[in-house]
Symmetry: C2
Subunit: 226 residues, 2 copies
């Protein structure tokens, strides 16, 4: 490690892939850039790491998200780092990216410079953000089949039908109702709230919530997905 005083440090930024489900599609939150580079283009919400105030990259990410899209307290998971001389025209840069899966209701923003875009219909994106989103999607689908990850898209109270639908949306496949419920019951992931929800002219569904201490843990919820 040359403790060389001539070392130049790269630009350090953080970017977030915030995913949610809307209209039975996985969507990503995009932010329109209001300055160069890529002024006017859509991009992941992101910004510089501030070494004078941020405790680490995740803290920088939370600060940026609060400033730009008004979200607070999201569960953030580190995704990967992207680096190189060409990805940012300002110079050799490192972006530390994060992933958040949130229920649609947890996002509040008034159109204009923020939008939710379906993963299958992304606009042109600034920097290498299209690649980052593609990687995030691969992670979501990959982990979706053997973890409780898709449950992160659910609001605090939900029906089993909604839960199954979230898994099907993430995985892009149909899941047998009976198998799904049996597995959920076996894993002891959720508990009844005691309430029901009636919607339209059909049998009302029981409401459930995630049990305490159920984070994202790796147990198969939906296997054999063709």
């Amino acid at each position: 490690m040359p403790a060389d005083e001539t070392i130049q440090y790269p630009i350090a930024t953080v970017d977030a892939v915030i995913l949610t489900i809307e209209d039975d599609q996985v969507k990503v939150l995009l932010h329109r850039r209001d300055r160069d580079p890529f002024k006017g283009d859509w991009a992941l919400p992101g910004g510089f790491v501030h070494v004078d105030e941020d405790a680490d990259a995740e803290a920088a990410m939370r600060r940026v998200l609060a400033e730009k899209v008004g979200t607070n307290g999201l569960y953030l998971e580190q995704l990967a780092s992207y680096s190189g001389p060409a990805r940012d025209p300002r110079g050799w840069s490192i972006s530390i990216t994060h992933l958040a899966l949130v229920p649609r209701g947890a996002l509040e923003f008034e159109g204009g410079d923020v939008q939710l875009a379906a993963l299958d219909a992304l606009p042109d994106l600034a920097f290498d953000h299209a690649r980052i989103i593609a990687d995030a999607r691969a992670r979501l689908v990959g982990k979706g089949s053997y973890s409780t990850l898709p449950a992160s898209f659910l609001p605090p109270e939900f029906t089993l039908g909604e839960m199954q639908k979230a898994y099907e949306t993430v995985l892009g496949t149909q899941i047998d109702q009976s198998s799904f419920r049996r597995k959920v019951a076996d894993l002891d992931l959720i508990e009844e709230t005691g309430e029901t929800r009636r919607e339209g002219r059909r049998r009302p569904a029981k409401l459930f919530r995630l049990r305490d201490g159920i984070g994202t843990f790796d147990r198969t919820l939906a296997t054999g997905l063709g």
Copy 2:
């Protein structure tokens, strides 16, 4: 993104967790630091990103490894980033860490400032490298049970007994011989070389190699591990 000219960039480094199996134990390659900070302490091999010559963080990692421990052409996987004001006494820093799993025979070094240390018997380590190694270990064990990751520890030709032993070492459990072989056969991961290896007074074992195109892919090789 304040295109603020007063932004200070953090120190950017790369560090590698190079794991191998020796004496039926998973070991990590450590390098003794020859300068401050932490001069004389054991640390992961690492160094600064050089923005004037590295194409990205992985290229920086390969350059550092070639310089410090003489390894080339390893398969490197990005692990995670670690950042903050306190982890490096030189200032607010980001380390982009990488993971490599290699057969013992692929590592060549003459003692002194490089050693292999068992994960269960690590010396005191510089920076936050103990934490990084703990995270790498968790990843190895976690992915070991549902992927071909442990096969990366095998030399080009190996017996089924060696393959099973590698899995058992990684997972820290016993695997039933019959189940293991059945699964390996079903997944079509390996092929016979046609050679055998005889060792001591017992039946010689057939030698196998990984089939073309078998990288690290996620299929259960050893399930139900207690």
